[in-house]
């Protein structure tokens, strides 16, 4: 399994903190898996101009190719203006329309207020569905008050992140086995 974790905020540290925690959990529980953390705060990504993802250069090409090579994606995102950040939407725009076909995708959403609880449901899931992702149904929603000095201080959140990592890997491995059986059945 090729696992990629995306921290999609250029602002503050909460998305970074949460995605680093996801990385720690994967390393602890699934040490044999290939794992990459993409932190958009550290990278210089151009806006999509419609070209094939292979035709970009620099950090943009690194991100598009890394995401396309992934079997499993964990997407960590803040809530801006009641939606996902433009930095994350741009990553989707850089990719082909069926880029997430046969990829298992999990979501971790940050927000300053519980009023944003459904942003993942109404803003992020439709895009992932359109791009043919196999979405992990439940996501982890984390509020500002669950962080303190770049640490998650709410045990409930930490346990929910553990559950998310476990469910995602179980689903990804199960899908991989189902797809293998399905492709074998074609007999060519």
């Amino acid at each position: 399994m090729n696992i990629v974790v995306i921290s999609s905020s250029k602002v503050g540290t909460k998305t970074q903190t949460a995605t680093k925690k996801v990385v720690e959990l994967i390393q602890a529980h699934y040490p044999g898996e290939s794992l990459t953390l993409i932190d958009l705060k550290e990278l210089d990504i151009v806006f999509s101009d419609g070209r094939n993802y292979l035709d970009y250069s620099g950090d943009t090409a690194y991100v598009t190719k890394t995401v396309m090579d992934a079997d499993v994606l964990f997407i960590g995102a803040p809530t801006f203006q009641g939606s996902i950040p433009a930095t994350l939407k741009n990553i989707f725009d850089l990719l082909p329309q069926n880029a997430l076909y046969h990829k298992t995708v999990a979501m971790i959403m940050m927000a300053g207020s519980p009023k944003h609880f459904l942003v993942a449901e109404t803003q992020l899931k439709p895009i992932l569905s359109y791009m043919k992702a196999n979405i992990v149904p439940n996501y982890v929603f984390i509020e500002d008050k669950d962080f303190h000095l770049q640490k998650i201080v709410n045990d409930d959140v930490l346990l929910r992140l553990e559950t998310l990592v476990e469910n995602t890997l179980v689903l990804a491995r199960t899908y991989a086995e189902i797809w293998r059986q399905q492709e074998d059945s074609y007999d060519f």
Binding site: D49, R51, M68, P96
Partner: protein
Amino acid sequence: MAKENKNCLPAFDASKGIEFGIYTLGDHLINPHTGKRISAGQRLREIVEMARLADDAGLDVFVMGESHQDYFVSQAHSVVLSAIAQATKNIRISSGATIISTSDPVRVYEDFATIDLLSNGRTEIVAGRASRVGLFELLGYDLRDYEALFEEKFDLLLQINQNEHLTWQGEFRAPLNNAHIIPRPLKGQLPIWRAVGGGPGSAVMAGRAGVPMYMAHLGGPTGAFTGTIAAYREAARESGYDAAALPVTTAGFFYAAEDTLTALREYYPHINEGMKFTNGQGFPKQAFAQAQDVRSIINVGSPQQIIEKILYQHEQFGMQRYVAQLDFGGVPFDKIRQNIEMIGTEILPAVKKHTAKKEN
């Protein structure tokens, strides 16, 4: 009453059925069955030989596209087509596509008119916009002008075709002041097609210009492409042209073997692995498996099954010409030869017979 169409339209004899050709993009990829890749020189020579075999087998047209990406040998496609003109006798020779956006239409016309004279009047041009855009940077163009470059230069190419002396001014090329553009092709003009892939936007532009349309397709149900052809004909009608007089070519994956499963088994790795290199994504096996259904546009299977599919596509599209891409992804030459033989002996005669328009 339709208005006069000044574009040169290729002549088709409906009583003989549709035309059948093959096309190559000149990809230069590893054969996934062996893990080996032939040299660029061998690939180029095999493309010329493929055209010669197609000519011998009685196919109507051989088409070659231009690409400047990695894993291709077709950068100088007009040079290869010129070699093909020398190696063949009867088959028509066409580009598919020439990327007119990043070329000088005057030079393109000079090249293809020359090939036309060398081939004794067998040459056509298919002009396209490029599905991959690395050549914009390579050749010094700005990708932001993607559409404007094509529309201006394609229109200039059409004007050159209609006017031996031309005065012209535009944004992306030096002006022409009563310029004498020679050589002229054997019949005075060359058939020039517009390449269309993807959605109906480009098809509508082809219809408005009253030029023939060359439509490439990868996979999916045949019915998904009827909208593009309808949009083309509708746009032509709205612009005052006789839509029925405008020909359509369809182009897509093709592979024949003695039975369907063998064809799928042999060709799928070429498509799947080849597309990973050229497009960055493989071809889903589930979608390829649907090629067994007559309604899938991928012409892979036994000769009989392919005949049925092309006839179905002809019912849906009413195209005048079908061109098959049978060499993609490192298909070894003995299989290319076998495919051309099957086309010549079984598929082409049956398709022509059943699509020939009967006299009332």
